[in-house]
């Protein structure tokens, strides 16, 4: 059977609401509108307005409310229409949610999921096109997940909701409509993926590609192209930004001796930087080439289609970087 990421997320929410009546969803347009991106479709009809709560457009207010309800023992799912708007509420995600278990010496627990589309969509310009993986990924106390496939969407979402700690769940608008084949196991209502474990999506021996979310698909396509040219790429889907599965990354690089880390977000202090740091720290002597990263350009997102395309990684960028680390291509002159 095939299923879209949207259906995967929706079915995971539905099953977890059926599984635990402490689970409720709040956010803008999650109920009567059926979700701005239809991730909560049908849930209001099934679980009623007490558990599927439309909020006013007040992120600080409803995010704080969600965290308070989690203090009290409920299991809120806070939907941000996009993570760009969560900046209005980032104080509650970090100061109120991530730190309270620690500050209280373990007295308070905060079982909450913050979810919504993250990163670049299409044609929505700078304020609506930003990746927050590195922001949240740097905070102790948070678990940060980013699904690529339907398997990820279901298994990670269900694990996030059942987790006793705050989880930031970074979806991708472009991926919502993508279809994936799913196994019976993935459709099982008790299908959970472990938080903190990456998945090797494709095995290879010449180079390791590490990425998350939409970029995993780009890396897989790049790997197909590279295979035609005799380069065997291993593709790692991080799934979990924090904790970061350094073990899987390093094991792979120790096998391939080459690394390209790929993300859509900005380069400085990014997830790719952290992946590369983990390899230079743990596996420096195994490297045959300096690790590379392919990232979003270091600019706010422009609106014009041609510029927008240049601002995010494309498959040829990944292929080029792989060839460089495999010494199949002479490095280009740096632009002045």
């Amino acid at each position: 059977t095939k299923m879209t990421v949207r259906e995967g997320l929706n079915s995971a929410l539905d099953e977890e609401m059926a599984y635990d009546d402490k689970v409720f969803i709040i956010g803008e347009e999650v109920g009567e509108y059926q979700g701005a991106y239809k991730i909560t479709k049908g849930l209001l009809q099934k679980y009623g307005p007490e558990r599927v709560r439309d909020t006013p457009i007040t992120e600080a207010g409803f995010t704080g409310l969600g965290v308070g309800a989690a203090f009290y023992g409920l299991k809120p799912i806070v939907e941000f229409m996009t993570f760009n708007f969560a900046m209005q509420a980032i104080d509650h995600i970090i100061n109120s949610a991530a730190k309270s278990h620690y500050m209280s010496g373990g007295q308070l627990t905060v079982p909450i999921v913050f979810r919504g589309p993250n990163g670049a969509a299409a044609g929505v310009a700078a304020q609506h096109s930003q990746c927050f993986a590195a922001w949240y990924g740097s905070c102790p106390g948070l678990k940060v997940l980013a699904p690529y496939s339907v398997e990820d969407a279901r298994g990670l979402m269900k694990a996030a909701i059942r987790d006793p700690d705050p989880v930031v769940f970074l979806e991708n608008e472009i991926m919502y409509g993508e279809s994936f084949a799913v196994s019976k196991e993935v459709l099982d209502p008790n299908f959970l993926l472990p938080i903190g474990k990456a998945k090797i999506e494709r095995e290879g021996s010449d180079v390791t590609l590490v990425s998350f979310s939409k970029m995993v698909g780009f890396c897989l396509k790049a790997a197909e192209e590279l295979e035609k040219e005799g380069i065997s790429a291993e593709v790692i889907n991080l799934r979990s930004i924090r904790p970061l599965d350094r073990e899987t990354i390093n094991k792979s690089v120790r096998k391939t001796s080459r690394l390209v880390a790929v993300e859509e977000g900005w380069p400085q202090h990014g997830v790719a930087s952290e992946v590369i740091a983990s390899v230079t720290e743990d596996s420096f002597e195994y490297l045959d080439a300096a690790p590379e990263r392919i990232t979003g350009a270091d600019v706010p997102m422009p609106y014009a289609a041609n510029l927008e395309k240049m601002a995010v990684p494309q498959i040829p960028d990944i292929i080029r970087a792989v060839k460089r680390v495999c010494y199949r291509e002479v490095p280009q002159q740096k632009a002045a």
Binding site: F24, E50, R53, T55, P56, T58, A60, G61, F62, T63, G64, L65, G66, V67, G68, A69, A70, F71, Y72, G73, L74, P76, D91, H92, N95, S96, S100, H101, Y102, M103, S104, G105, G106, Q107, L108, T109, P140, G141, K143, D163, P164, D165, P194, I195, G196, K197, S240, P243, R246, E247, E281
Partner: protein
């Protein structure tokens, strides 16, 4: 226990609601309890002041002396299934929720017997079992959190309310109005309680609020202004407020109170207000002296009895200070504890030098 009715002198001012009665039911035991608890709170805060100056306490330390009537009056109208959340001036709130002086003092010193095992400090005291949710350091953020706790009470269909406390400084925060709007839309049992001590740090209320009538700033949410230096008036307002909120949703309560100390230990508290103002309030409105006079005038105890209570409180605080001083510092492994309550498999935490310290949990 002797039942009494006392008339509180300052009328309640209200916004869109009929005021509660000024005739307050109380008892000998309750009044003696107020005196004992407030005196203990005051002694504790004065002890904290001394310990700060002698460097046993580090960082931030915000003292509550002057405002004690709010805490004891509120607790007299609530039970531990009702919830409280406050800002950073939380030492006495912790005591009011059933905490001990030792838990507060050890936490202030960053020692193991502190209520947060020394990991929170002055601003982060909690008692989850008694529904005290801190102890929050970001001005105003505790208000939406409190509305969330009230949401939980209503979701679980319990006959309980949450008190979300904030100062006159936080009263201007945008998120307070966001939370108020949601609480009113969803009829959440939350008492928005402004402890108006008239200065947000060093900024007088009239310099930061276009309207310092905080009880009336809920617009569509009714409000009551209360003499926050009178424990009985406070109790009456919260008793009324709890019943109201369970039926109707949020209510705003403004406690007209005063802090004797500066904002924090770095503030002598005298650049933005006069010494005469402080001493005037001490003489005319002090919450402990008010209850002492009431007890004596009703002949519920003698001056000597009250002196004995004071002596006992001093002894209790002194003993707690000694115990807190000798409580050990937290074990070093506690640095890496309580990051998550559900630790992922193979989860690692790095110390400052990750080659030297990597903790696998």
């Amino acid at each position: 226990d002797e039942k009494l009715t006392v008339t509180v002198p300052v009328p309640f001012k209200t916004h869109k609601i009929d005021p509660p009665s000024q005739e307050v039911e109380t008892s000998k035991a309750e009044l003696l309890g107020f005196f004992t608890d407030m005196y203990k709170m005051r002694r504790m805060e004065i002890a904290a002041d001394g310990l700060y100056k002698s460097k046993f306490i580090r960082g931030f330390c915000h003292l509550y002396d002057g405002q004690e009537a709010v805490c004891v009056g509120m607790e007299a109208a609530l039970n531990y299934d009702d919830a409280i959340i406050t800002a950073y001036r939380d030492h006495c709130t912790h005591l009011g929720r059933g905490g001990t002086v030792l838990e507060v003092m050890a936490e202030l010193m960053g020692h193991r017997d502190g209520c947060s095992q020394g990991k929170g400090g002055s601003m982060h005291m909690y008692n989850k079992q008694h529904n005290f949710y801190g102890g929050n350091g970001i001005v105003g953020a505790q208000v939406p959190l409190g509305v969330g706790v009230a949401f939980g009470q209503k979701y679980n269909k319990l006959p309980n309310v949450t008190v979300a406390m904030y100062g006159d400084g936080a009263a201007n925060q945008g998120q307070l109005f966001e939370a108020l709007n949601i609480a009113a839309l969803w009829n959440l049992p939350c008492l928005f309680t402004c402890e108006n001590n008239h200065y947000g740090m060093g900024t007088a209320e009239w310099r930061s609020a276009k309207s310092p009538a905080y009880y009336a700033r809920g617009d569509y949410v009714p409000g009551i202004k209360v003499d926050g230096m009178d424990a009985l008036a406070v109790k009456q307002a919260f008793k009324f407020g709890k019943e109201y909120a369970l039926q109707n949703g949020p209510l705003m309560l403004e406690m007209d109170t005063y802090r004797y100390h500066g904002h924090s230990m770095s503030d002598p508290g005298s650049t933005y207000r006069t010494r005469d103002e402080i001493s005037g309030i001490r003489q005319e409105r002090d919450p402990i002296e008010r209850i002492r006079k009431l007890i004596l005038s009703l002949e519920l105890a003698t001056a000597a009895d009250l002196k004995a209570i004071e002596k006992e409180s001093k002894r209790e605080v002194d003993e707690a200070v000694d115990a807190a001083k000798s409580s050990p510092q937290p074990e070093e492994k506690l640095l890496y504890d309580h990051i998550h309550s559900g630790t992922p498999a193979n989860f690692q935490i790095y110390g400052a030098d990750r080659q030297h310290v990597t903790v696998k949990l």
